[in-house]
C-alpha cells in the first residue's frame, strides 16, 4: 500500500488527516451537477405560472409548457413554423433570465418586459419580424398569472394559489346553493305578504301598478274590493319567524363572501380568513367557529324543508334543538372551506409541533404545509453526527402512521410534477400534510435551490412519497413512491461524460448517493478529503459499489465521490466512515419506503421464492415420472414413423436444438444458458459480447464461452434480450465487483 493510499484509508476510517490543507474545498458540487451551472439556459419545470381563474389541474403551468402550448397552436410543423418557434423560444429564454434576476411580475408583464428587451437589441427589420411573431402568439390567447421561480417562498405561494383555486370552486358551489335558498325563501315571504292587509292598502296597490297608469285606477275602491277577499292560507307566525331567522343566518354567514345584492340592503360582515401561520391559532379559530358552522348547517337544512313545506314543528323542532357539535359529519365539514396552515420548520416551536400532531389526527379538514429548508440539520452529536430524517422523513412517516391523513412529501423541485397530488390533498375531506424541502440551504450557497431540492430527491435523502387514504383500502392503492427517479434502484444512476487529461472523451455511470448530496454542504466538508490525482487507482471504489462490498473487501477499498470544483475540474473525494454509515442508513430508509410502495417487497419476494421452490419440486417429480415411463416403454414406440420417399413429411415445429439432451440431463440453474430455439436473431447479445455469445448454424444465439466476459455482461444481455431467453445462472467469478446487485437483477431471469 502506497503512502498516499495509506493516508486515504486512515482518513476514511478516522476522519483525520495530517495537515488541514488537505481538507476538501467547500466550493465543490457533485460531478453530476456540473452541467447545470446556469439554470436560466435550460428549459425545465421552473419558472411556474400561477394561472389566474383556473380550476382543477390547470392552476399551475410551467413557463415552457405555456410557450409549447402556444407554439402547438400557431406554429405549423416543418420549416413554415420554424421562425415562430425560434422567436418564441428566444422570448422564453429572455423571460427566464428576467425571473432569475429576481423580477416579480405576472406573465403578461414579464412578456412585455422580455419583448421590449429583445426588440431593443435588434435592427428594424428583425424587430418587425419579432413583433409579428409575438403578436400572433398573443392573439392565440395566453394564460396569465404570477410567475415564480424556485426559492424559499415557492411552496408557500404555490400552495396558497392551489388552495385559492380549490376554495374558489367550493365557494362557487356553496354560494349557488345559498343564493338559491335566499331567493326561494324570500319568495315565500313575498307571497305571504301579498295576502296581508298591508299589501291590499291603497298605497301599496298604487306602487304595484306604477306611475304611468295610476290615474286610470281608483285604488281606494280597489283596496276595498280586495279586502273583502279571503286571507286564508297565510303563513303561521312561527313559520314566518323561522323563515326570517333562516334568511338572517344565510345572509350573515361569514364562510362564503356573498355578492352585494341589487338593493344594497345585504349586510354581511367581512368573511372569515382560513389561512394561518400557526397550528395553535388555526385550531383555536376552528373551535370558535364551530357554533357558526352549526347555525349555518341548520339554516340550510331548515330552508330545504321549508321550501318543500315538509317542516313539522312537532318533529323537527326537537331534532334541530339537539343538533350540536357531535352531529357534524365529514360531509358537513366538506361543505366549508378547508384551513390552510403554512409552517416553516425552522420557526416551529415544540408546542406548535405537538399541536400539529393533534391537528393531523383530528380528522378535520386542516391542510398543513411544512416547509423545511434544511433536511440534514446541524452536526450535533460527536463530530458531525447526521440528524438525517429527523426533520423531513420523520414527520411524513408519522403522518402516514396516522392512517387517515393525506400525506405528500416532495422537494420544491418536484412540486410541478406533483400538482395533481397537491389538489388531491387539498380536496381530500380530512387533514393533509404537505412536507416540502425548499432547497434554500444557507450552507450550500453555490447551489441554486432548485438543484439542491432535486439533489435531495435524487439522493433519497428526501424522497417523493404520497399517501392518499381516499384512494382505496389497501397500501397498494394508497401509497406511492414512483415519483422518484429510478424508483426500482437503491440509487439513481446517470451517465457522466468528461474530457480527461489527454483531451479524450470518457463516459461513466455515476450513482447519485446520499454522500454526493452531502458533498455540496460546507458544514460537512470535514467528512471528505480530496484524493491526489496520482493516487487514483483501482483501490478507489465509488460509494454505491463500496456499500455492496463484503466486509473483507471493504477493508481494502476506499470509497469516493466524484465532484467538480468551481472551474469544473473533476476531483475525487474520499468519504469517511461516519458519512458512509449515514449513507447506508439513508439507503435502508429508502428500501423501507420501496417495500411500502410495493417495490421489492420482502413478503412478496419470500412468497415468490416459496412458490418457485414448490413449482420446481413439482417439475422434478414430473420429470422423474416421465423418465421412469420412458425406461419402461420399448424404444420402437417412440421412434418417428418412416416416411415414403418423395412424400412430404408432416410439418411439426421442432426446436433447432434437440431437446432430448436437456430433458435427460436437467440443466443446473447455476449455469448460464440460452433457450436457443426461441432466439429471434436480434443481435442484442452478440453486439454486447461476441466472444461470449454467438449464432449457431440456424443463426440463433447460444453461449459459446461463459468465461469470455463478466457476469455483469451476462446479466445485461439477459435484461436486453427482448424475448427473455437468456438465463445468466450464478456468477462464476466471486471477486467480480457488485455481485450482490447483479445476482439480484439476475433472479428475474433464472
Amino acid at each position: 500500500m502506497s503512502a498516499g493510499l495509506r493516508a486515504l484509508v486512515r482518513f476514511h476510517l478516522t476522519g483525520e488527516m495530517e495537515g488541514d490543507d488537505r481538507r476538501a474545498d467547500s466550493r465543490l458540487r457533485s460531478a453530476l451537477l456540473a452541467p447545470y451551472r446556469d439554470l436560466s439556459q435550460l428549459r425545465y419545470d421552473y419558472p411556474l405560472v400561477l394561472v389566474e381563474g383556473s380550476a382543477g389541474g390547470g392552476f399551475v403551468r410551467s413557463l415552457s409548457s405555456v410557450v409549447d402550448a402556444v407554439l402547438r397552436e400557431i406554429a405549423p410543423e416543418g420549416g413554415q413554423g420554424e421562425r415562430l418557434r425560434k422567436h418564441l423560444l428566444r422570448l422564453e429564454a429572455a423571460m427566464r433570465a428576467l425571473v432569475a434576476e429576481g423580477v416579480e411580475a405576472t406573465l403578461s408583464e414579464l412578456w412585455r418586459l422580455a419583448e421590449h428587451e429583445l426588440l431593443s437589441q435588434c435592427d428594424e427589420e428583425a424587430a418587425g419580424q419579432l413583433r409579428e411573431s409575438f403578436g400572433q402568439a398573443e392573439a392565440a390567447g395566453l394564460v396569465d398569472g404570477r410567475v415564480i421561480d424556485c426559492d424559499d417562498g415557492t411552496p408557500s405561494q404555490l400552495f396558497q394559489h392551489a388552495w385559492d383555486a380549490v376554495q374558489h370552486e367550493r365557494s362557487r358551489r356553496a354560494l349557488e346553493e345559498i343564493e338559491g335558498l335566499l331567493l326561494r325563501l324570500s319568495d315565500i315571504l313575498k307571497a305571504d305578504f301579498q295576502k296581508s292587509e298591508e299589501a291590499k292598502a291603497p298605497k301599496n296597490l298604487r306602487r304595484s301598478v306604477g306611475i304611468r297608469f295610476e290615474e286610470s285606477f281608483d285604488f281606494e275602491a280597489l283596496s276595498r274590493v280586495l279586502k273583502t277577499s279571503s286571507s286564508e292560507g297565510s303563513l303561521s307566525e312561527s313559520r314566518r319567524e323561522r323563515i326570517r331567522s333562516v334568511l338572517s343566518v344565510l345572509e350573515s354567514q361569514r364562510f362564503f363572501a356573498l355578492p352585494t345584492d341589487a338593493e344594497g340592503t345585504r349586510d354581511q360582515a367581512a368573511p372569515h380568513s382560513f389561512v394561518f401561520d400557526s397550528c395553535t391559532r388555526a385550531w383555536e379559530v376552528f373551535r370558535e367557529r364551530v357554533p357558526e358552522m352549526l347555525e349555518l348547517l341548520k339554516a340550510i337544512a331548515i330552508a330545504e324543508l321549508e321550501l318543500e313545506n315538509r317542516y313539522r314543528e312537532s318533529e323537527h323542532d326537537a331534532l334541530f334543538g339537539r343538533f350540536g357539535e357531535t352531529s357534524l359529519t365529514p360531509e358537513d365539514l366538506a361543505r366549508f372551506p378547508s384551513y390552510l396552515i403554512r409552517l416553516h420548520d425552522k420557526d416551529c416551536e415544540e408546542r406548535e409541533k405537538a399541536r400539529l400532531i393533534d391537528v393531523l389526527s383530528s380528522g378535520l379538514p386542516l391542510k398543513i404545509l411544512v416547509q423545511t429548508s434544511d433536511i440534514l440539520g446541524k452536526p450535533s452529536l460527536g463530530d458531525g453526527q447526521f440528524a438525517l430524517g429527523v426533520r423531513g422523513m420523520q414527520l411524513a412517516s408519522m403522518a402516514v402512521g396516522l392512517n387517515s391523513c393525506f400525506v405528500l412529501q416532495s422537494p420544491s423541485s418536484d412540486l410541478y410534477q406533483m400538482r395533481d397530488r397537491i389538489l388531491g390533498g387539498l380536496t381530500y375531506p380530512g387533514p393533509a400534510l404537505f412536507s416540502v424541502f425548499t432547497g434554500a440551504v444557507e450552507n450550500a450557497p453555490d447551489l441554486p435551490p432548485y438543484l439542491e431540492a432535486a439533489s435531495a430527491v435524487q439522493s433519497r435523502a428526501f424522497p417523493v412519497l404520497a399517501y392518499d387514504p381516499g384512494a382505496g383500502g389497501d397500501w397498494a392503492s394508497r401509497f406511492e413512491v414512483t415519483g422518484n427517479s429510478q424508483a426500482e434502484a437503491d440509487w439513481p444512476v446517470h451517465s457522466f461524460s468528461y474530457e480527461d487529461a489527454d483531451l479524450q472523451r470518457v463516459s461513466e455511470e455515476i450513482a447519485f448517493t446520499f454522500a454526493d448530496f452531502v458533498a455540496s454542504d460546507r458544514r460537512y466538508a470535514g467528512h471528505f478529503a480530496p484524493i491526489p490525482r496520482e493516487d487514483w487507482d483501482e483501490s478507489l471504489i465509488p460509494v454505491r459499489e463500496y456499500l455492496g462490498l463484503a466486509e473483507e473487501e471493504a477493508a481494502r477499498a476506499v470509497p469516493y465521490v466524484s465532484v467538480v470544483d468551481e472551474n469544473d475540474i473533476l476531483q475525487k473525494l474520499v468519504v469517511d466512515q461516519k458519512l458512509i454509515r449515514a449513507t447506508r442508513r439513508c439507503a435502508e430508509m429508502w428500501r423501507g419506503l420501496q417495500e411500502l410502495g410495493g417495490i421489492q417487497n420482502s413478503h412478496a419476494l419470500n412468497l415468490l421464492e416459496r412458490e418457485r421452490e414448490t413449482w420446481e419440486h413439482e417439475r422434478e417429480r414430473e420429470l422423474d415420472e416421465l423418465r421412469e415411463q420412458a425406461l419402461r416403454e420399448p424404444r420402437a414406440a417412440v421412434a418417428p414413423p418412416a416416411t415414403a420417399a418423395g412424400e412430404a413429411a408432416p410439418l411439426v415445429m421442432q426446436p433447432s436444438e434437440p431437446e432430448t439432451d436437456t430433458e435427460t440431463e436437467p440443466r443446473s440453474s447455476d449455469e448460464p444458458y440460452i433457450e436457443t430455439p426461441r432466439c429471434t436473431t436480434c443481435d442484442e447479445c452478440t453486439v454486447l459480447n461476441s466472444r461470449m455469445f454467438a449464432y449457431d448454424e440456424n443463426k440463433q444465439a447460444h453461449i459459446v464461452d461463459p468465461t469470455a466476459g463478466t457476469y455483469r455482461e451476462l446479466v445485461e444481455a439477459a435484461e436486453a434480450c427482448q424475448v427473455c431467453i437468456i438465463h445468466p445462472g450464478k456468477p462464476m467469478n466471486p471477486d467480480e465487483p457488485g455481485l450482490d446487485e447483479l445476482t439480484r437483477r439476475a433472479e428475474a431471469f433464472n
Partner: protein
C-alpha cells in the same frame, strides 16, 4: 437487377450443392439491434439453406422502408427499387423468368399505403411468389411516423395527438380480394413458427401473403409487450393442412384453435380478432389460378430458342425462296 456477388464466385458455386447459411449472407444488416427484421432475415436464410436453393435462382424484390433493405443482405439477385412498386416489379420478373423463386419484402407503408393498389391486384393475379409484409405498425425509416396499420390513438411525429382512424387490417383486406390463395400471419418473437409459415408459403403455388407482426425497438419499443409477455394473447392456428405445434410450443402457447385453412368465413373472423394475435395459416386455396399460367410467359427473350429464332429471321431475309406458283406466273 444487380447481383451482389462477383461472377467468378458465382461460377465457383455453380457446381456446389451443400449451401450453408453463410452462403446466403451478404453484408452485415444495418437494422437496429433488436429489430424484428433480423428474425425474418434469419428465417428466410434458413429456409434457403434447408431447401438448398441455388443463389442464382433466387430474387428478392423490395420497395422503400427499413424492411426494404432486405435484398442487400441476401447474396442473391435483388431489386431495391420504387416506393410501393415492389409487387409490379416482382410480377414482371416472374412473368419473364418463371424459373426464379421470387420473394417480395415490403413494409406496412410500402404495401398498405403507397403501394395499396398494387397489393390488391397482385393478390388477384396470384402469381407464384412469396410476399412478406414486415408490419411494425410505424414508419421507422422516417423516424416514427404513423402508418396505415398504426392502432387508433398511437402518438407519432405526424400524429402528436394520436392517430384518428382505426388501423387498416392487412389480413382482412387480403382475404377480401378475389382469387386470394394463401394468407398467413406470424410474429417475429416466435421464430420456429415464423420459419414454418415461411416454409409453407414457399411451397405454396400462387401468391402467398404473410403478415409478420414485428417489433420496432427504436420507435415503439414496448408496443407489442402486452402480447410478447402474455403468451395467452397469441392464438395458435393449428391444422393437419397447416401448422402443427410441437409439445414444447404448446406448453407456452396454450391458446390454440384447430382451424381449417379452407374455411374462408372463419378465416375472416379470425383476421378481425382485436385482443389476440392469430398466428398460423388463415387461408389456403391451392386451386386458385395463377396469372402466369393463364396468359403464359410470352416468347423467350434469351436462350438457344431465341437465338435460333433471331438467326433464322435474319437469314430468311437472304433466302432464295423456291419458286412458287404465283412468282412463276409473273416471272
Amino acid at each position: 437487377m444487380a447481383m451482389s456477388v462477383s461472377a467468378p464466385r458465382c461460377l465457383q458455386w455453380s457446381d456446389r450443392e451443400d449451401y450453408q447459411l453463410e452462403d446466403y449472407e451478404a453484408e452485415v444488416p444495418r437494422w437496429c439491434t433488436g429489430c424484428g427484421d433480423l428474425a425474418i432475415l434469419a428465417a428466410v436464410q434458413r429456409l434457403c439453406r434447408d431447401e438448398q436453393l441455388p443463389l442464382e435462382k433466387l430474387v428478392f424484390v423490395s420497395g422503400i422502408g427499413c424492411s426494404s433493405r432486405f435484398p442487400h443482405y441476401m447474396k442473391t439477385y435483388g431489386f431495391h427499387g420504387l416506393h410501393g412498386r415492389a409487387l409490379p416489379v416482382a410480377e414482371g420478373i416472374k412473368l419473364k423468368r418463371p424459373d426464379l423463386h421470387v420473394f417480395v419484402n415490403t413494409g406496412d407503408g410500402d404495401c398498405c399505403s403507397i403501394g395499396a393498389a398494387h397489393w390488391l391486384h397482385a393478390i388477384r393475379y396470384n402469381m407464384d411468389m412469396t410476399v412478406l409484409l414486415h408490419d411494425n405498425e410505424i414508419y421507422g425509416l422516417t423516424k416514427k411516423q404513423a402508418s396505415p396499420t398504426s392502432p387508433r390513438g398511437l402518438k407519432s411525429n405526424t400524429t402528436p395527438r394520436g392517430t384518428h382512424l382505426e388501423a387498416l387490417n392487412p389480413l382482412s383486406t387480403t382475404l377480401g380480394v378475389a382469387n386470394v390463395s394463401f394468407v398467413a400471419q406470424a410474429v417475429d418473437w416466435v421464430p420456429t413458427v415464423l420459419y414454418e409459415i415461411i416454409s409453407q408459403a414457399f411451397h405454396h403455388k400462387g401468391l402467398s401473403f404473410i403478415r409478420v407482426v414485428q417489433r420496432c425497438p427504436e420507435f415503439l419499443p414496448t408496443h407489442f409487450d402486452p402480447w410478447m409477455h402474455d403468451p395467452d394473447r397469441l392464438l395458435m392456428l393449428t391444422h393437419e393442412d397447416g401448422i402443427q405445434a410441437s409439445p414444447e410450443l404448446s406448453r407456452t402457447y396454450k391458446q390454440q384453435e384447430v382451424h381449417d385453412p379452407g374455411e374462408m368465413n372463419r378465416a375472416r373472423e379470425i383476421a378481425s380478432l382485436k385482443d389476440q394475435i392469430p398466428v398460423g395459416i388463415l387461408y389456403r386455396n391451392d386451386e386458385a389460378p395463377c396469372y402466369e399460367d393463364v396468359v403464359g410467359s410470352g416468347p423467350p427473350i434469351t436462350g438457344p430458342e431465341k437465338i435460333q429464332a433471331s438467326v433464322e429471321a435474319e437469314l430468311d431475309k437472304f433466302t432464295v425462296w423456291p419458286p412458287s406458283e404465283g412468282r412463276e406466273g409473273r416471272g
